[in-house]
Structure formats: structure tokens, C-alpha cells
Amino acid sequence: MCLYKKICKRLILLFMTFWLSGCAPFTENNLIEEISPVTFLSISKGDEGKLKVSTIMPPLSKENKFVMSQEVSLLKEGVQKYNLNFYQEIKYGQMRMLLISDELGKDGIMSIINVLLTDPDISLRIYLVIVKGNFDEYLESQLDKDENFDYSFYRMLKHYEEKNQGELTVVNLHQFKNLLYTPYSDPFLPVFKIEEDGVNYEGTALFQDDKLVETISSLDDRIFQLINNNHYLSVLPIPEFEVVLGHVRSKIIVDIDSSYSTMTYTVKIDTRIEEYRGEKQLFDPKQLENMKKDIEIHLEKQTHELIKKMQELKVDPLQLGIQTKRPFSKPMEEKKWIEMFEKMDIKIKYKINIDPLTDANSKRQNF
């Protein structure tokens, strides 16, 4: 009897361990050989307000692949329809990328983001990407050429995410969600364009809340990386002066006057000249100083235009609104800030420090 009681006690304890820890006794079959974990989903606009969800099947394995797409009104419905058409069960757990078409982005992607956020299977580290053009067609054409197109695309995003390489904007779901829901900030996403030769990085998409409003590209995008996203660029070519700046690192100082009417935006840059094909004698300090001034003015102009564009669009991806926060005072309402931001006079100042370069020094005359 005593032994029986003891065993009973132990069984109850074991049962409670699972019960109280919230472990469900009914688990899904996640056997790796019986499931198909998709690595990415591409979502675009379908007919009649529907969503077109497509991906490559089967993911990961080396079998013959095909593009599977479904027109559905709900995101999860798409995956359920996949299951009916494929011998393995589709799982979300290994999803790494979500490609959203720019048309859909313009309509707002809040609902999609929320679906992803509430699914515990989906990692918060999946990359969000805006795609311009017909991605499905491109996928079809790539199947024969590149077996692991999705994987190499993921590797590229991962590379530029780590250690802020400054080449691309890379945003994951967690960052996007934070930018979307925190006050004084608007999210942004990278934009890739489908062209004949492949998927090319175009620039950064600026969002007003969850709606895509503008894509900035080329020098604007570079400046955006420098002043906001990474604060680092490995190269910054400025063709106007036939110069390439390398290892550009920036420091931002923002100063708002007490009446919130003017803002001084100072960008301090440490860099060095990587390449120069112009006429100026760089080892002459005066000429170097002149060029520095030219670059400063050029960048100031460009940045001013960029911020002006933001002001017009009422988007604030630079999170300038944070500067209005003061200790021991109630934070300003976001709406009020955006109104103020629109009218604000923003002065841009660049201070460039060019480190002496060994190549330039080698040309120096002996004196």
C-alpha cells in the first residue's frame, strides 16, 4: 500500500510538471522528413482584393522544384491550400523572408505583420523585403538556373545585417514592428527590383505608418544609411568630384531650439579618400581643403533635399521626434510632432574629417 501511494505521488508530480508548464499533450507532428518548412513567402496583390501567396516547393530538398501560388483572401488560408496540393505538410517555423510587392505595400501591410507577429512558430528575425515587379515570374525563370535562389537571397540579407555593413537596408520583423508601433518613428524596408538580369537592390522604402509612400535610391539611399541606418559606409562614391570616400563613419548631433522651429542637424564624418581621378593636387593642403568644402556643400544639399522630402511626406524614419523629449515633462503627441516637423526649418551641417592617406602622401614632394 505504501509503495502504491509512493508511485501514485510520483505520477501526480510528473503529470503536474507537464500540465502546469503548459506543455500540451497533443503535439503536432514535426518530424523533419514529413514536413516542408518553407523558407520564404512572396505576397502580392491578387484579383478582387485578394492576396497572391507564392513560394518555391519543395523547399530545402534537392527534388525538382516548382513555384506554387494561390490566390486567397487570408494569408493562412494560402498555406492551408498548399497542403492540399502537396504531399508534405507546409510549416512556417523555418521562414526567413517575407517578400511583399510594392503595390501591396502602398495599401498597407499592418494585417500581414500582425499575422506574423501572433504566430509563435514564426521567428521575429525574418527579413521583410519590398519587391518591385512580378516576382512569381522571376521565380519561375530562376528554377532551372539557380536551385537555391531563396537560400542565396537569404544569405545576402544576413550578411549585410550582421555588423552593419552599410550597403543595404536590412530590416527584420522585430525592428519593423518596433518602428511601426513606437511613437515618433516610421518604418522603412529595403526595396528590390526585378530586372532582366536578376533581383537588384534599389533603395529604401519609407513608410507612413504601414503604408509605403516613397522609395529613396542611389545617393539619397547612401545618405540614409550614413545618417540613420548604419552610420557606416564602406564606400561613398561622389561622381561630381570624381572622388570615392571610403570607410565613412558618421556621428549625428541634433539640436532643436526651444521654440521647436529650427533644427540643426550636424553630421560629423570620419573618412578617407579611397580613389581620386580629378585634377586637384590632393597633397596640397589648400586644395584638399577646397575639395572637402565642396563635398560638404554637396552632401548638405542632398541631405537637405532628402529631409525636405520626408517633411513633405510627413514621415520620420530618422526618429527626430525623440529629440523633443525632455526630462520631467509630458512627451509631445505624435500628431503634434508631425505637424511641427512639417513646418520645421532644418539646417544641415556636415563636418568632414579626411584622414591622410598613404597613397596621397607617397606623391608628396620631399622638402
Binding site: 507537464f18 514535426n30 518530424l31 523533419i32 530538398s61 537560400y151 537569404y154
Partner: protein, 491 residues
């Protein structure tokens, strides 16, 4: 009633033999049908006749000629004890004592003129020489190891600890084997509780045959059902001497080359004698490596099974590419795949132990090819699993204690079952269960998981790392030594 009467009768008969008078006839009667029992008569002089009684196989025949027969035949002295000079002589009064001496390798001398019985110990020295330890091999350091002769083993220890405080108390256990067990400890240093506990346990032993120290250990252990050894078995005299010096006790068992050292903790199983020979940084690194490889060897395959059956989300995508590819054509689920491979590895491990060395190589090659290549090519196992089985098996051999290596595979299988049922939560629960069990264990009534729990901070210098010797100024506190300091006076 009848059987009770019979028992009393037999008791009486035994008493009568024990008390019966010591005589040649009585000895002959009890040694009947023993081919190696010898009864020899030597005429020393006309009047004196000396009877020699001995068991031929137990004594040293050459020595018998040299030190007994030769002196006796040339002896003219009246007293028998004066004739034999270079051997110890024990006078024996009763029959039982005579038999005991006879079977421990002594020669019985009977002088009929004086009616005097004497015993001269002349044990046969047959036995192994001192050889290098094969179970605890080290590259540097002392190479000698214990052999089967207990006296020789005590010598090896005494040479290392030439102090009068080193006590060696002898006990006899086993109603049939009459095995002598020697309890060694340093008086004034070792906690007397340990000594009394061990003495108590030895006195409680009630068993007939002992042929190895592990059987004695089984009677010393508080939890016999545990897979963890609660006494350390070692055949290295330097390990024993070092342990004695720290305040532990040692049990030497006759006819066994393995001494028992207690109390030990779980962490002792990861310490090798070489730790104290290498440079401290190096041996600390090796020690940490051993702990890591222990954890690796018990959890690597369970993790593989947990990830592939329950948590596909956690696998890095690079690995997933390989896994999906290699697993897609296998007939077994990850659990059965891993289970079969582990059992197979155990079979090979066990077989290679029993095989002669020359056939052992063939076994290795066949095992390697069958497990490594053929299993993958035939589609029985994935190559990822083969790599993991290899790593975890090799990692399990890093633990210096062989008994622990065996326990390792057992834990691994247990965790494997847990992981296939409950995934990573199962592994966590399994590890919690192991930790709880380790905490409940004790070695001669001392906690098995100290100095971690109960906590002794200063002992950590020789736990996961092996600190520099000049910093280890105190003996481990968890051993409760009577003298804590290891130095005489501070400089």
C-alpha cells in the same frame, strides 16, 4: 523439533573438532583427499623426530629447503626455536589456529620430544610483478601500479607516506574466501567519522565470497541502485597516497589490484592523476574539456532527436539543408535511427573489450566500415547522425573513470527516450532528474555533490579547474580533515 536437535548436534560436533587436541592424526584426518598436503618426517638426531606439515602449493619449496630442512638437519641444539633463525616462528596452541596457519601458507613443525607445535610462514611468492597501470594510463608521472598481493600494495603506499600516523587496520571478510581487507587512513588528519563508518560497514558484511574490491564497494555504498560509483577504484599508488594525504580513507582488498578510495564526489570522476603533473593552466583546460565532453556525450544525440522530431524551427537553415537531404530517404524515425546506432556502438564497444588484441583490429575496421559507410549507403542512418555518434562516443572516453564511461551510455539512452517523447523539455527534465539523483547520493555518508552542494567555495580551486599548487594551501573542506592547513608554518 527434529531439525533443531540436529542443528545442536552439528554445533557440538564442530566444537569438538575445534577443541580437539592438536595431533598429526587429527590433521591427517582433516586433510584427507588433499593431494597437495604433505606430511614429512625428518630425523634430526636419533632421539628427535620432527614432523613437517604443509600444503605444497601454498609454500615456497626452495625456501623450505634453505631455511628449514637444512638448518634442522645440521642442528644440534636442544631447542627447536633456536635452530631456525632466519624465519619468524609462531607457537600454536590449538587445532583451529593450526589450520588457519596451514592454509595461509605456513609450515607446521611438530617436535614430538617436546610436544611442541610451531608455524613458520613461508608463503609462495607467486604473483604479478609491479607493472604499469593499464586502466589509468598517464604519460608522465609514476608508472607503478598495484598488484594482487596486498602486502606489496601496502609497501607501495608506505613508501610514499613514510609517517607513523598512517594506520593500516586489517579485517577479514567473506565466510568462504576469508579475504583480508586493509583499511588505511592517516590518524589525526582523516575525519574519525569516516573511519568509524567504514569499520561499521565492514563489520556488517555478511557474504561468502569476495574476489574483487568492487564487491566490497557494493557493500560500502549507500545507494546500490545508482549508476554512479560511490567509491573510487584505482590501481595507482600515487592516487591513493594523494587521497590519503587529503584526508580520505583507503580500502585495500587482497587479491585485487584495485584499491577503494572514499569519500568521493561526482567531480572526482573527472579528475585524472595527470592533472597534478601538467602545468596548471593546461590541466585546468583539460579538466573543463572533460566536463564539456561529458555533457556533449550525453546530450548531443538526444538534442539531434529532439530537434528533428519536435523542434525543426531551431535548426540553423544551413544544417537543415543537409538534414532534409540526408533524412528524406531513411526508413526509421530519428529516435529509432539513433537508438539502433547507439546500441550498435555499445555492442562494438563491449565486443572489442572481450576480443583478443589481434582480432580487435578486425573488429575496429568492420565496425568502422559498417557503421560509418555502409549504414549511410544502405540508407539506414543519416550521415549527420553518424558524425554525432562518433563525436559523442569519443567524447565519452575522455572521462578518466571507466565506471563513469559505462554510466554515460546509460544516461544517454535515458535522455534519448525523453527527448523523443517530450523534445527539449524532456532533455531538461532528464537532466534535472539526474541532478536531483546526484544530490541525493552519498559516499560513506558524505554528500556526493559537494563542494557544489553543499557549497564550499574554497574547494573550487581544485574542482572545475586545477589551480596552482602553491595556492592550494588548504585541504578540501568538504572532506572535513582534522588538519586544514597543508603547510607547517607560513613564510
Amino acid at each position: 523439533m527434529f531439525w533443531k536437535k540436529k542443528r545442536i548436534e552439528s554445533k557440538l560436533a564442530a566444537q569438538s573438532i575445534a577443541e580437539s587436541e592438536l595431533s598429526i592424526e587429527a590433521l591427517k584426518k582433516s586433510l584427507v583427499q588433499m593431494d597437495d598436503a604433505e606430511f614429512v618426517e625428518i630425523d634430526v638426531s636419533d632421539i628427535r623426530k620432527i614432523h613437517l606439515v604443509y600444503i605444497r602449493t601454498l609454500i615456497d619449496q626452495e625456501k623450505l629447503n634453505e631455511s628449514i630442512i637444512k638448518p634442522l638437519t645440521n642442528c644440534s641444539k636442544p631447542d627447536l626455536q633456536d635452530c631456525i633463525v632466519n624465519s619468524s616462528i609462531i607457537p600454536i596452541p590449538i587445532f583451529i589456529e593450526a589450520k588457519k596457519q596451514l592454509f595461509s601458507g605456513s609450515i607446521l613443525l611438530f617436535d614430538s620430544s617436546q610436544n611442541l607445535w610451531l608455524a613458520v610462514p613461508l608463503q609462495n611468492p607467486i604473483g604479478r610483478a609491479i607493472e604499469t597501470s593499464e586502466t589509468e594510463t598517464i604519460l608522465f608521472g609514476a608508472k607503478d601500479s598495484f598488484s594482487e598481493q596486498i602486502e606489496q600494495n601496502i609497501t607501495l603506499i608506505r613508501r610514499r607516506l613514510p609517517i607513523h600516523e598512517l594506520k593500516a587496520e586489517k579485517f577479514t571478510v567473506g565466510s568462504m574466501s576469508e579475504t583480508s581487507v586493509v583499511l588505511m587512513y592517516i590518524e589525526g588528519l582523516t575525519n574519525p567519522d569516516f573511519v568509524s563508518t567504514v569499520k561499521e560497514k565492514i563489520s556488517e558484511i555478511n557474504f561468502d565470497l569476495f574476489f574483487d574490491s568492487s564487491q566490497i564497494a557494493a557493500f560500502m555504498e549507500e545507494n546500490q541502485n545508482s549508476i554512479f560509483p560511490q567509491l573510487q577504484q584505482t590501481d595507482r599508488p600515487d592516487v591513493v597516497a594523494y587521497s590519503l594525504g587529503l584526508g580520505k580513507i583507503t580500502l585495500l582488498v587482497d587479491n585485487t589490484p584495485f584499491a577503494l578510495v572514499a569519500p568521493i564526489t561526482f567531480f572526482h570522476l573527472f579528475q585524472s592523476p595527470e592533472d597534478y603533473i601538467n602545468r596548471w593552466a593546461v590541466s585546468s583546460f583539460l579538466r573543463i574539456l572533460r566536463y564539456i565532453s561529458f555533457i556533449l556525450s550525453i546530450t548531443l544525440i538526444p538534442f539531434y532527436v529532439a530537434l528533428t522530431t519536435h523542434h525543426y524551427q531551431m535548426i540553423p537553415i544551413q544544417t537543415l539543408l543537409v538534414l532534409v537531404d540526408s533524412r528524406s530517404k531513411l526508413p526509421f524515425t530519428p529516435f529509432w535511427e539513433a537508438f539502433i546506432m547507439l546500441i550498435f556502438i555499445e555492442i562494438i564497444k563491449e565486443a572489442s573489450l572481450r576480443m583478443p588484441t589481434k582480432t580487435g583490429q578486425t573488429l575496429g575496421v568492420i565496425g568502422g566500415i559498417v557503421i560509418g559507410q555502409a549504414a549511410v549507403e544502405a540508407g539506414f542512418a543519416s550521415n549527420v547522425l553518424i558524425v554525432m555518434v562518433g563525436i559523442s562516443t569519443i567524447a565519452s572516453f575522455l572521462i578518466p573513470n571507466y565506471l563513469m564511461t559505462k554510466a554515460n551510455s546509460f544516461i544517454q539512452l535515458m535522455l534519448l527516450v525523453f527527448s523523443s517523447l517530450f523534445g527539449i523539455i524532456g532533455i531538461a527534465l532528464g537532466i534535472i532528474a539526474i541532478l536531483a539523483h546526484l544530490n541525493s547520493l552519498s559516499s560513506i555518508k558524505q554528500p556526493y555533490f559537494s563542494p557544489v552542494s553543499p557549497f564550499f567555495g574554497k574547494d573550487w580551486i581544485d574542482l572545475f579547474i586545477r589551480g596552482p599548487l602553491d595556492k592550494m594551501l588548504e585541504r578540501p573542506k568538504h572532506l572535513k580533515p582534522l588538519k586544514l592547513k597543508r603547510y607547517k608554518t607560513r613564510r
